[in-house]
């Protein structure tokens, strides 16, 4: 029943052969029935599916993108963009500036290409959600604790070891310690990381515990079925409740080519399509709540590169292995290391022509550190041209000022750590800074998002959870206010952003939701008793 695979093969080679239906190879329309249909196979969808199937429910996972297996990962960025990223990596948020927005569009979602960083939801954030949104009983630290523990155990969460630390991370930690800035090695989902620095294009060793090599194949092994390359058009509504989904295999634009995939759900549909795609799916289903698509938030980040005399070789070691969260509450920023592949680094290297070529050779001596902002700005996810999802957000002045402050701090740290020159990548600031005194240029840079090379990967809101149906989309039980049996379990429901990497919170909340749904007889999630609040 199981495909032949060597004992050491990644988990994405070992699952029942009939558990995976590849929509790209479909030969006709399909119709099947399950207890639950889960839309999306990223951090939230995979975990929810696994929790449901572990509770004895029959589950279908529907994923818009393909399943790119570990053995198919290359180290080229273009190939990864084309196969695994939404809009081939060209997705942007529109506002005062265009802000690149990277999202996975494949089995495993963004966990295939992120850095696998595990942070529990900060308690002050949960307190804020309790106070402002009335979620104290539903999302208390006590309620989330067993889910964090289970995920940490199952995904082998561990601190970056010496063997995978790498010079980029080591330099950051050493300098932070010298400055008296509390910093630490990151905790990541990994099992045998070799520090190959290839998180961004998919871990070639199956060591990073993305959903593609963990909860998805584990759920399949327990009886779930995966429908990849199937784009969900809408949730099927029958008898006033969610009764399944209607999806299409590739060729949806020209339906003569694509096939209809109708997946019925006896006990409910869980939407885990991501913050950008979930609002559109709710609207296509006929939901009309005013809060759908509103209150979108993100964590914009910007990096500074420094050239050292000794080799840094940021391609060796954990892609992101060191961080400081000590300024999260006071300054709403997080400092961290970042290694990027040569194709992306080439854009950050200053100059063009001869100057650029000369600097190419310095790449092996470059360290890169980034500041990530818990942005105050709120945006909107709506419908764009051709029914595509469109994200609009303009960073607030305060957000840009915080990024600028963090960038200047990192720049000074880099010079103190021994960098001989810096590439700040800020418009209005010289391309190359050669002394710590010149960091004042960054301090004086315009507080304008168009001056900075922001990028974002952490997305929140747009289907907010709350007790007020006029101001939120789902209730504390994760069920939409408007349609029975329709749940949203991804980071769309987060009332605010976090200030730390969100994957752990997304997974724990999804597991919590799925567990509550599975514990109910009807499939309807039961809100926890009020005394469950911590």
């Amino acid at each position: 029943m199981y495909p032949e695979a060597p004992e050491s093969a990644p988990a994405d080679e070992a699952f029942p052969a009939d558990a995976w239906i590849d929509g790209a190879r479909s030969t006709g329309d399909l119709e099947e029935i399950f207890d639950h249909v889960v839309v999306g196979s990223g951090a939230s969808g995979a975990v929810a599916a696994h929790a449901l199937v572990a509770a004895g429910r029959s589950v279908a996972i529907v994923e818009e993108g393909p399943w790119v297996r570990t053995r198919e990962f290359g180290d080229g960025v273009y190939g990864a963009f084309k196969r695994m990223f939404r809009d081939a990596g060209a997705q942007v948020m529109e506002g005062r500036s265009y802000l690149p927005l990277l999202q996975g569009r494949c089995v495993g979602g963004s966990t295939v290409m992120n850095s696998a960083i595990a942070h529990r939801t900060p308690e002050d954030v949960l307190d804020e959600w309790a106070e402002r949104f009335g979620l104290g009983a539903a999302l208390s630290p006590r309620a989330l604790e067993p889910h964090f523990e289970a995920i940490e155990r199952e995904l082998s969460v561990r601190v970056v070891g010496d063997e995978a630390l790498g010079e980029n991370n080591r330099l950051f930690l050493e300098e932070a310690a010298a400055e008296g800035l509390p910093a630490r090695r990151m905790r990541r989902y990994e099992n045998g990381c070799r520090g190959s620095g290839r998180c961004f294009t998919g871990c070639p060793h199956g060591a990073k515990q993305g959903m593609n090599v963990s909860y998805v194949p584990w759920a399949l092994a327990r009886g779930a079925r995966l429908f990849s390359s199937c784009k969900v058009e809408r949730v099927l509504v029958e008898g006033g409740r969610a009764a399944g989904v209607v999806a299409w295999t590739p060729g949806i634009i020209d339906r003569r080519k694509g096939h209809r995939v109708l997946l019925r759900a006896r006990r409910g549909v869980l939407v885990a399509a991501s913050t950008v795609q979930t609002p559109g799916l709710l609207r296509r289903t006929g939901l009309r709540g005013r809060a759908i698509g509103e209150h979108f938030q993100c964590h914009p980040g910007v990096a500074v590169a420094g050239v050292f005399d000794a080799p840094v070789d940021m391609g060796t070691g954990a892609t992101q292995g060191a961080e400081s969260v000590s300024l999260r509450r006071s300054h709403r920023i997080k400092l961290e290391t970042l290694a990027i592949p040569p194709e992306l680094a080439a854009v950050r290297i200053p100059g063009i022509g001869r100057e650029l070529m000369d600097r190419f050779e310095e790449f092996a001596h470059v360290a890169m550190w980034a500041v990530v902002v818990r942005a105050e700005a709120e945006g909107r996810v709506g419908a764009g041209w051709g029914g595509r999802d469109r994200v609009k957000l303009s960073l607030a002045r305060a957000d840009v000022e915080r990024a600028r402050k963090g960038l200047a701090l990192l720049a000074r740290m880099m010079f103190e750590a021994g960098a001989r020159e810096l590439w700040p990548g800020v418009y209005g600031v010289p391309n190359v800074l050669r002394s710590i005194d010149e960091v004042r240029w960054i301090d004086e840079a315009p507080a304008d998002p168009r001056a900075f090379g922001f990028i974002t990967t952490h997305l929140f809101g747009a289907a907010r959870m709350g007790v007020d149906p006029a101001a939120s989309v789902v209730g504390p039980d994760f069920q939409t206010h408007e349609l029975e049996g329709l749940y949203v379990v991804d980071s769309s429901v987060f009332p605010t952003n976090l200030g730390v990497n969100p994957q752990h919170s997304i997974m724990a909340m999804s597991r919590l939701a799925a567990t509550r749904i599975a514990e109910s007889r009807t499939g309807r999630s039961r809100p926890p008793p009020a005394h469950a609040a911590a």
Binding site: G76, V77, Y78, F81, K82, D87, A88, A90, S97, Y98, D162, E163, L165, G166, E167, R170, L173, E174, A176, A177, A183, R184, R185, G195, A310, P311, D313, G315, T316, G317, P341, P342, E343, L344, A345, A346, V347, G351, I352, G353, R354, L356, M357, D358, F360, E361, F363, A364, G384, W385, G386, R388, Y427, R450
Partner: protein, 140 residues
């Protein structure tokens, strides 16, 4: 969306100026790579709005000599050094739209150029063992 042959020629002329290679370093320029085929492939892959952005970028760079050099020539009609100067000015433009579009060509060219094995070896020489780098880890 696809670029016309003329547009691809302009795009390649710009990319050759951005990534000319280095004789001293023994690095070929992007012109020695399959730029035309790559551009066709990229335009097929990108969603409409992004592809439209690439087309705008190509036209911006193509006609930039008209308003920057006051010369009736496209980017492909300039010598390498002049092309480089024109693009450098675009990348440093006060206009966010202009510098973003010019950088878009650099970003697309980088996806091809820095993916080349020879270029990668130059940027990231064979990896030394971590222990050889410094051989120490902080007690943090």
């Amino acid at each position: 969306m696809t670029l016309t042959r003329l547009e691809r020629r302009w795009a390649e002329a710009a990319m050759v100026a951005i990534f000319p290679g280095s004789v001293e370093a023994g690095l070929a320029g992007i012109g020695a790579m399959q730029v035309d085929a790559f551009l066709r492939e990229v335009m097929r892959t990108l969603p409409f709005r992004a592809a439209l952005g690439v087309r705008l970028a190509v036209w911006l760079v193509a006609v930039a000599p008209w308003f920057m050099l006051r010369r009736f020539a496209t980017i492909a009609g300039l010598g390498l050094a002049e092309r480089e100067r024109v693009i450098a000015r675009l990348v440093a433009s006060r206009s966010y739209a202009v510098r973003s579009l010019a950088l878009l060509l650099k970003a697309i060219g980088a996806l091809l150029y820095a993916a080349d094995d020879r270029v990668r070896r130059r940027m990231a020489p064979p990896r030394p063992r971590l222990a050889q780098l410094r051989g120490r880890a902080p007690a943090v």
